[in-house]
Amino acid sequence: MAQAKAKAKPKSRAKAGAARHWTADIFDVLKRHNLKQVAYVPDTGQAPLIEACIRDNEIRAIPLTTEEEGIGVLAGAHLGGEEGALLLQSSGIGNCINMLGVPIECRMPLLMIVTMRGEWGEFNPWQLPMSQGTQAALEAVGVIVLRADSAERVGETVAAAAKMAFDAGRVVAVLIGQRVVGHKNWDR
């Protein structure tokens, strides 16, 4: 879908001197695996990645009303011979748990890129319960969970997860720590 008005400007959060933002490393992995459908509910941390997917001509970026829809979309894509990824914030994991039964039972590949809210430096107490339970909830239903807690590790972690998802046919989530994403700016 063409989100014509989406801003092209990468987020300024990338450290000065570090030419590449960590989301660019994720994008490379998505392209390397020839992913065609990228479904998302936005998170601030992944905004540049979402924008890159919207701009890419080979990727269909699919906005969802709720995260669980993405599990279904990607199951259907796999049945039809395409692969994809789901981009979401950790709070959206709570919406996904039941639907994860589809790819797990059917042994379908699924790659979830999850940016954490509600941990490192979180100021909103309402975000804490879901974030503290995110990894446990995923593992409780049988999802393989990898974590990256520094920007330098994001690329290799997502690359490893993508191999496990698409080559070994498993449901894999990469949790990207809030330390990587940065604090939310509340003084806009």
């Binding site: 989406a6 936005p42 979402i50 906005p63 009303t65 919406n95 909103n124 107490p125 509340w186």
Partner: protein, 196 residues
């Protein structure tokens, strides 16, 4: 499609206008900017700001409206938050609370996460969905004149009432409401129920 009409309204002014004549109406706000809008219009013991649980603002208001049939109950939320809980429109319609109104501040964006376009930008018509679900009164507001017509509907019309107000996409300055849940729960109930 969705942009056939020009969008000129300012979200802060819209929410302030709706709340100006609220009287003792109870207010539930959806996470993010709609909560900031309500706070900017003035904190109140009759306000409860939901800081998480995207998609829960309408069911939250529904439960409150059913528990307090003698009071007007408003849910003010964003289009993104509303989209995540669309099924709740059907659930409200089944209960048909006459004292309940939902106001969606529709900037056609996920404002809090960087302004990504929502489904309403592509023509998804949430008021028409509310109509299909069975809301009694449904309106879409683009102008101040339409807003003036909608305010009595929101505050006094026989519910369930659903009003989408199309607002400009620029984010407004953040005005943080209280975020201590136990404190808010306590002050809201103490004020409403006189409980210690």
């Amino acid at each position: 499609m969705a942009n056939a009409k020009r969008i000129t309204l300012d979200r802060r002014k819209v929410v302030a206008r709706v709340l100006r004549d609220r009287g003792d109406a109870l207010l539930i706000t959806g996470l993010g900017a709609p909560s900031f809008d309500a706070m900017a219009a003035g904190d109140s013991l009759n306000n409860f700001y939901v800081w998480s649980g995207m998609g829960s603002a309408v069911p939250f208001g529904l439960g409150l409206a059913c528990a307090q049939p003698g009071r007007r109950v408003l849910t003010v939320t964003g289009d993104g938050e509303m989209l995540m809980g669309l099924g709740s429109l059907a659930t409200v319609a089944v209960q048909r609370p006459a004292n309940f109104a939902v106001v969606v501040i529709d900037n056609q964006r996920y404002g809090e996460t960087g302004g990504q376009l929502t489904h309403t930008e592509f023509g998804v018509d949430i008021p028409a969905m509310a109509k299909g679900a069975g809301f009694r009164e449904v309106a879409t507001v683009y102008t101040n004149a339409e807003l003036e017509e909608a305010v009595p509907l929101i505050l006094k019309g026989e519910g369930p009432v659903f009003v989408t107000v199309k607002v400009r996409p620029e984010p407004a300055k953040i005005v943080l409401p209280p975020r201590d849940g136990p404190m808010m729960r306590h002050r809201f109930r103490a004020n409403l129920l006189g409980e210690g």
